[in-house]
Each structure stands twice: as C-alpha cells, then as structure tokens.
Amino acid sequence: MSVVTNTTTIGAIDAPSRRNTELGLMAFAIGISVFAYANVGLAIDGELPSGMLGYGLGLILLGGVAHLVVRKFAPYADPLLLPLATLLNGLGLVLIWRLDQSPRLIQRAKSLFGAFSPDAPKQLMYSAIGVALFVVVLMVLKDHRILQRYTYISMAVALVLLILPVFFPAVNGAKIWISLGPFSIQPGEFAKIIIAVFFSGYLMVKRDALALASRRFMGLYLPRGRDLGPILVIWGLSILILVFETDLGTSLLFFGLFVIMLYVATERTSWIVFGLLMSAAGAVGVATFESHVQQRVDAWMDPFACYTTDGACQQIGDAIMSFGSGGTLGTGWGQGNSDLIGFAANADFILSTVGEELGLAGMMAVLLIYGLIVERGVRTALAARDPFGKLLAIGLSGAFAIQVFVVAGGVMGLIPLTGMTMPFLAAGGSSVIANWALIGILIRISDTARRPAPAPAPSSDAEMTQVVRP
C-alpha cells in the first residue's frame, strides 16, 4: 500500500499509532518519579524510603492501566499527553510526600488542628480515582462528538456546580468547597471542563451567526443579541458567582476560556479587543469593592512590605525567597526550606518547593512539561476534523494554560495571587481527578483526529473493468 504524504497537520492516512513511543515515555516518567522518591528518602532519612516498592508498584499499576486502556480504546491518540501527565502526577506525589516529612508543617498542623495527617496517601488515592475516571472517559466516550448532545445539560450542570458551594461554609475565606461527610470537592475544577463542553457545543452551532450576522458599530462587528445573549448570560453568571465566592483564579480562568473559544469560533479579532476591555473593566470593578483583592494587589506590588506591617500576606514574600534560595540548581529534593511558607505549602504553593529544591533547572523543566501538554492539546485542536472537537480541545488546553499561568505567575509574584492549584502537582483531590478527566477527553479527541481514514469500500465496479489478460 502506498503511503500518501500529507502536508497538512492531519496526517490522516497511515499515521503510525505511536503506542510504543508512549510506552517508552511512560517507563521514563515512572522511572524519574521513583528515582525522585528514593532521592527524597536518602536526603531526609539517609536511607531508601520503606514505601518505595509500594509507591513504585502503585505508579506502574496506574500508568500501566492507563497505557493499556489507551492502547485498546484510543490507539491513535497523541503519545505525549499520558506520559507527561503521569510524570507530573508522580513528581507531585513525591513533592507532597516530601512536605509530609517536614517537622515544621507537622508541628504547625498539630498546634492548629491537634493532629497531623499526611497528604501523600490521600493524593495517591485521588490519583487512582483520577486514572479510573480517565479510563471511564476513554471506555464510555467512544467519540467526543457525543458530548455535543449534552450542550444545554452541561450548562445547567456547570451552573449548579458553581452555585452549590454558596450553601457550604467558607474554607480559608473562599466558598469553593462542597463538603459531603469526610469528603470535600472543589466543583470549580470540574465546572471548567463542563463549561468548555457547553461553550463548544453552543459556539459550534452559532459560530456562523456570530461571525457573519453582525452589525457594524464603531468600526467593530457586533453580533446580534439573540446569538450572543445566552452565552453572555451564562458566562456573566458564572463570573458573578465566582466573584461572590471570592474564587478569583477560577473566574479569571472562565473569562480567558470564554474569550479564547469565542475568538476561535468566530475568527474575529474584535473579540480579543472586547475581551481585554471587559477584563480591564471587571478587574477595576472587582478591585474597588473587594478588600480581599486589594490586599492581594498590595502584596503583589511590594511582597516584603508585609514583614514590617505584620500583615497576613507574607506568603508571597516567602515564596519568592524560596525561589531565590533555590538558585540555579536548587538545594536538592528534601533539602530546602520551602515548608517555611506553612499554609498551603503543598497546595497552591507547591511550585515554590520545586523552585527551591530543584532550582531554576527544575522549574524550567516543569514549566516546559506544562507547555508541552498545552502544545499537544493545541495540536490536537489543529488536527481535529470537526469544529466541536477543535473548540473543545482548544478550550481545554487554553484553560489548562491559563490555570498554569495564573497559579505559577501568582506564586512567583508575576501577577497578583488568586489561588488555584497547579494541575497534577498540587495536593487536592478535585484538581487531580478533574485534570485526569481533562487529559482523557483530549486523548479521545486526538485519537479521533489521528485515526486513519477508513479504507475506501471496495468498489463493485472494480471487478467489472478488470483487464483480463489472456
């Protein structure tokens, strides 16, 4: 069979499945994580950690199952996404386990709550649930276009998920949790995927109306109210809810997601202009009546002023010093003092442990891993053949990129801190589960996009016109 070389990104015919590439990369990702685990044990206790076998086997099991499921159910999927997510998840587990050993954090937990419970076992359990959800997504969702059917249900679910935390008590000043007995989930993480599904479904249908049936106003094309209205209302509602729940990071994420998807759907640059104008207006508006936001902005402008005023905003300064102390090569796993940050050291601020213990080199590596995931996501969007898949893939990757930027930028003092979790690295069940689901959907879209076109059906005319040689 002749190979058709294709200059488009689709590479539709005879694309190699790359499953063995994926397997090799998985082995690498798990190997690095196990090595890191051993490294922490040696640095802290001077001996190989006792849980090493269990941890290694656990990771191999999770990664192996995920790989086999991809091999079976999404054979043409992008080979990079799964190993990258596994690597981040594995490194995150090591980081959390490392912070569990910190006498300072143990002391802190004991004096605040009377008891200390390590987060690493919980994170391992959540990772398992996350991988299970990943498997379910791949097995149940045979074709991502099925999601299209649930456009309006997604809208309703997303709204419910966002509203629910209002009825639960605030945790650390933000009403972003739903507590059910011993478990608590952060619905914002799931809502981000669900709302991307809604935006994709809606925009796919309305994109032509939005792009073309418009009125010219002050040099910009404005769509008709009946086309833009519903989506604007949903988006506005979610932002409002999040602002009232003081979940600023997530509201920023939703805003970015909305602008990106609208821009991609309509191909009109004016949306970017609108987006920027609206975000500026929104930011100024929120900053004027939310003292919470003002504190964050002050802490961002001068992180070290807090040390003299005895404010509760020293975390930014602590995080920045953590990065500085890491320097180029870092102190090495387990040998830094990033736990000085205290509260949320293994959640929102986990990146400062990376910065201090792995140094600039480790930070660049981790950021590039995130960059690669986003890049593979965008590539999937480019390769996808249906507009719904394109929109969903770009929405999910864009949301992922914005989340990484908002969290990492906040922790590094690049932008004001808004509070969200670093996907896969940070301790937190909802985050790791939701992000595994996100990777599952991206893998499903990429599988559909890269799957070779079915061989043309044998033509019944072929037989007839055969030249029969004597």
Binding site: R104, V264, Y307, K390
Partner: protein, 484 residues
C-alpha cells in the same frame, strides 16, 4: 478555524515564556539578593545548621556548640566560663544575633567565608560535614582569670596588652553576663535577654572597650610625655616652674592637690610620684591645647581602635585654656577607655613605640590550616626612646616609693601610675579608681595593664587607684610573668 488556533497556540506559548522569564529572573538574577534578605529565615537556619567553629585561648576552646531540639536551628552556641570571656567573645544567639568576635569572625566560624571556599568545595565532594573554622586569640587565660577574679563583684574593667607586639592579653569587664543563657531562641532565652537589657548595671556593656571614663591622674603620664617630647622640661629631676597654689588661667578657680603635698616647683619625677595636680595642670597650659591634643593623639586618643572588635574613641578635647589645663590632669572632658590607658602604659614600656593592639592571632580553616596570621604592626611613636626611658624611671619611682606601692612584684621592675577620677555634677559621685602599669624583665616588657574600678559600694575615702586598682593590676602582671 486553524488560523485563530495557531494564534492561540502562540498566546499560550507567550504565557509559558513569561513564566520561564520570571523564574530566570527570580532564581538567577535576584537569587543572591533574595538569599541574603533579612526576612529570609534560611539565612539564620543555615548559620545554626552546622557546628560553629571555636574561639581559642591558649590552645583551648572557650566556646562550643550544643544540639537544640524543638526548633529549626540545630546547634546553639555555648561558652565555657561565659561571664569571664564575654568581653572577648561577645555573644551569638539564635534569636538576638551576634556581637563582637562572634559577629566579626562569623564568616570563619560558620565556614562561609570566601577564604574557605576551597575547603567547602572539597568537603562537598568528599561528603564531609560542613564545619566552621577556628579563631585563635592572643588572650592569656591566667591573666584573664586574674583580672576577672580581681574585679570580683566590683564594677570595673581591665585591659592588658603585650607592649612589644600589641597582643591583647586580658580584657575583663564586670558585672558581666553569660552569653549561654540566651544563645537559643526559647522563652527562657528571651527572658534572660530582656532581663539583661533592663539591668541598670548594664552587664552587656564591654567596659574595657566601649566605656570611656575620665582617666584622672593616670593621664599625667601622657602630660609628662608631652612635656618631654616638646622640650618643655628635659631633666626629670630638675625643678619645674610650678607655683603653689596654682590658679587656672583666665578664671579664678584654684587647682587643688590631693592633700597637703610639697608640689611647689617639684621635679617631674616627684610630681608624678605624689601626683601633683598643680604641676601637670600648668604643663598642659604651658604647652597649649594643640600640643596636648597632638601628643594624646599619638597615644591613640581621638580615634576608634579596631582590635578587630571596635573600641570607642578616647577623647582629648579641643578646649579653652582653663579646661585644657584640667584635661591635662585627666579631668574636664578628657575621657579614655581602659584599653587606651593600657596602650599608654604599653608605649612607655616599649621604649616609646606604640603597637597596634589586636586579639586575633590566627584564623584556621576547619582542617586547622592557618589561613591568616597577624603581623605585628607599629601604630605610632609617641615618645623617643630616650624620653620613654625617662618616663619609665618616673613611673617606676611611683611604684617603688609613691602612690603605687601596692603593685610591687618581687624581682620584677614595675612602673605605674594611680588615678582617682572625679565625676558627676560638682564631683558629687564616687570617683573612679584607676591604675595603669607595666612590668619589665630582662627581655623587655611582657605586659602593660590598665585597671578601672567604678565601685559604688566602697566608702568615698577608700576609693583610690593605689588601694583598689593596683592590686588587680599586680595580679594580672604576675599571672603573665609566671606564665612565661
């Protein structure tokens, strides 16, 4: 839809790039600055993460390190015989920073000094535990003990130096404190620290280096040196031009002598022996303020001295005529540290050469390699050799048959000068008892010492340099000589 997709890809790339630039900026460009910020607790954690090097006297460490629990500072500093050595070592506390040698030699003691870079790099590869270097001092344990015990529960200070090298042999200050009591950062440490701060006797004041007293009659040695150096008088046994009573210039005040002593036209030797205020007051006035300041300056007055621990500047004031005459006998605004007066005695004993006082003889790397050795250095020459010998004869007369007989040591030549410095408004407070002296053997002078006792317990009549301070000086000198 692919064109906007590519643009979004670029946008996401820019976001990641911004993070990469930021992390480079924080971890490469600003790393040093962030790493040394006062707010950065790691600086102190690192300082106490390893055993600190020791401060060494006579080959033995007078400091040590103890493991602490329940804190992120692993080791804390301990001192052996802390109160006795505190004026030498200073303190180094997890909670309250460090002072004096502990602070100045911190780089060596923690092992972070640039001079130890090679050692550090080496031990990084050999996997040895990081260690601090040692600081070897010039102090003499026997002399320090004599000084500290001699002061006892009296308030005062002793400074002793080797006149030939400038090496500091003793540096005592009482009441003292034990730096070990607040070396950690627990509540008891804080209480001990606050108690010391509130103590009205100021135990943490290093009186030997940081307190200036009116030097009283001990300053007459400097005035006599000025008279000889400026050629006002050349014969120490010749008559001086000194009336009795002597009225201070320009004012109606009459300068008194202590008791009824024959000071009229007394020779320099006799005037020093009996401590005649009138003779030396007039010398100071005859020479004038500038010449007196010049000579005092050559002895080390009017500038701070670094040993390397800073000693406050002693002051010979720029002043009007009557005040200058008073300053010539160590009163008025004339002020001196005990170290300064020990330097005066040392310069005389060392035939006029004043050596730079110092207390760090060597710095050692953690592996005991010597990375610094002090070279002795002459600070100035306040006296010619000939005049120094004349002054020695005068000071030796003071001890042999004058006010300083309490400092006599069998078989050793001792020169000295007593002082009883008045202070307070209208001299209402109890005076300070001073004694400066040197001992001399065949091979030159091994020790010069200055003692000041500011004792509020004693009767006013009992306070005199000869009675209170001279015995302490004698014990210190004896300790040095016996130790040779």
């Amino acid at each position: 839809m692919n064109k906007p997709l590519r643009r979004i890809a670029i946008f996401c790339g820019v976001l990641i790039l911004a993070l990469l630039v930021r992390t480079n900026y924080l971890q490469y460009v600003r790393a040093d600055e962030l790493n040394t910020r006062d707010e950065n607790r790691r600086v102190r954690i690192e300082r106490y993460a390893h055993e600190r090097g020791d401060i060494i006297v006579d080959g033995k460490a007078i400091t040590g390190s103890a493991v602490t629990k329940g804190s992120d500072f692993k080791y804390k500093r301990v001192w052996k015989n802390g109160p006795m050595w505190a004026p030498v070592t200073g303190y180094s506390s997890q909670a309250f920073d460090a002072s004096q040698l502990e602070s100045l030699e911190d780089g060596i003691l923690t092992g972070n000094d640039d001079q130890l870079f090679f050692d550090r790099t080496l031990s990084m590869f050999t996997g040895e535990k990081k260690q601090g270097g040692n600081v070897v001092t010039t102090l003499n344990a026997a002399a320090q003990k004599a000084a500290f015990q001699g002061l006892g529960d009296k308030k005062g200070a002793v400074a002793a130096i080797d006149p030939q090298t400038g090496a500091i042999l003793a540096l005592a200050s009482t009441p003292s404190y034990d730096p070990s009591t607040f070396a950690g950062n627990s509540d008891t440490d804080t209480k001990a620290w606050q108690k010391l701060l509130k103590d009205k006797d100021k135990p943490m004041l290093n009186r030997a280096l940081r307190e200036t007293y009116p030097p009283g009659s001990t300053f007459k040695v400097v005035t006599a040196a000025a008279a000889l150096e400026n050629g006002l008088y050349t014969d120490i046994d010749g008559k001086t031009d000194s009336p009795l009573p002597y009225r201070l210039p320009q004012v109606s005040t009459v300068l008194q002598n202590e008791g009824n002593i024959p000071c009229e036209n007394a020779s320099l030797r006799e005037a020093l022996r009996m401590s005649c205020n009138t003779v030396f007051g007039k010398i100071s006035d005859d020479l004038g303020n500038q010449k007196m300041m010049d000579e005092a300056g050559k002895f080390g007055f009017n500038k701070e001295i670094f040993t390397p621990v800073r000693a406050d500047a002693s002051i010979y004031p720029k002043d009007n005529r009557p005040q200058n005459a008073m300053a010539g006998i160590g009163q008025a605004s004339n002020r001196a540290t005990p170290l300064q007066m020990a330097m005066v005695a040392a310069a005389v004993a060392n035939d006029g050469k004043l050596m730079q006082p110092y207390m760090v003889a060597e710095r050692q790397a953690p592996n005991l390699d010597v990375i610094y050795t002090h070279e002795k250095e002459q600070l100035s020459q306040p006296l010619s050799g000939e005049n120094a010998q004349k002054l020695q004869q005068m000071m030796e007369t003071v001890v042999k048959s004058g006010t300083g007989t309490n400092a006599l040591i069998d078989g050793v030549t001792v020169g000295g000068k007593t002082g009883t410095a008045q202070h307070g408004l209208n001299n209402s407070e109890k005076p300070y008892a001073w004694f400066i002296s040197y001992a001399k053997t065949d091979s030159g002078s091994p020790v010069a010492v200055a003692v000041v006792v500011e004792d509020s317990q004693a009767n006013r009549d009992d306070v005199s340099g000869g009675g209170l301070a001279a015995p302490i000086a004698r014990d210190v000198m004896k300790a040095v000589i016996d130790n040779k």
